[in-house]
Assembly symmetry: C2
Homo-oligomer: 165 residues x 2
């Protein structure tokens, strides 16, 4: 488990190989297992594997330009009516679980922010025809990596404090 956490890196170049449906389902299962405030689970997951839609998102959200090469993405969205104060935090936890599950299944992945910038959220709302109360939180690109990214030790002693500052 720790090896997966340490191995996860942001991948921005992908091979076109389609992701197995069973693997997609396992990855979503990980998203569903995230904690959420008051266990309200306000998330929604939009799996995108339509080439045209992926290309549209890559253009509409330039920070997700790697979708031009990725065979799939999960757009993690939240129902803002179900959890107005914490939907974004819950979606963040789900996003992280999805990244780790993808890593476990030997897929590269990258967390591209949608929320909170409206210039990134609006194109997604349009391309995916999201209802008014469903807001896109993140775009998770996924696919076989076409670049090598080594695990690194990221511990920074100066950022740890004990019992106060």
């Amino acid at each position: 488990m720790m090896d997966v956490i340490l191995k996860r890196r942001s991948v921005r170049k992908y091979r076109p190989d389609k992701i197995d449906e069973e693997v997609v389902r396992e990855i979503l299962k990980a998203g569903f297992c995230a904690p959420s405030a008051r266990n309200l689970r306000p998330w929604r997951f939009v799996v995108v594997d339509d080439r045209e839609k992926l290309d549209k998102i890559a253009v509409g959200c330039p920070n997700a330009a790697m979708l031009k090469s990725a065979p799939a993405a999960v757009i993690v969205c939240g129902n803002i009516d179900e959890s107005p104060d914490y939907w974004a935090d819950d979606c963040a936890a789900a996003t992280q679980n999805i990244l780790l599950a993808a890593t476990y299944f030997e897929l590269g992945s990258c967390w591209c922010a949608a929320y909170p910038k409206s210039a990134r959220m609006e194109p997604l709302c349009e391309i995916l025809s999201l209802p008014q109360n469903i807001k896109p939180y993140s775009i998770v690109a996924m696919g076989k990596a076409d670049e090598e990214r080594a695990a690194t030790d990221r511990f920074e002693e100066s950022k740890v404090k004990r019992n106060g500052w």
Copy 2:
């Protein structure tokens, strides 16, 4: 790995056993391995294992009342100067990694929100003497669980969409 993701549950009753220092370090290492926007890594981790401080936090932040029984907590904080737009999202990813690492080391854990409610953030700023630019994001209670919480399948078909709504 998937078993750890599926096994993680929020634990609210703890045994007083102290957590091994090496385990604390491994858990923090997981936090440091979270992704962050532009790789800015704005997080700070305050480990609290002082009984008096834990009790003070439990009173100041009633949603973290379980710290009365927990032997330790990690307060995940962000430096808002380093990443004004995304420090909270980055701290969420780090928090989730910490929860999973704790689960892996057979510890119970619970994500208690601090951000965005000032009534929860202010007591933490005071109890931990946080500088002005360091904001508490979450309180992660940790320790040997004193309750059984089974893994459950949380997949909800109705929350998954394909290529749009």
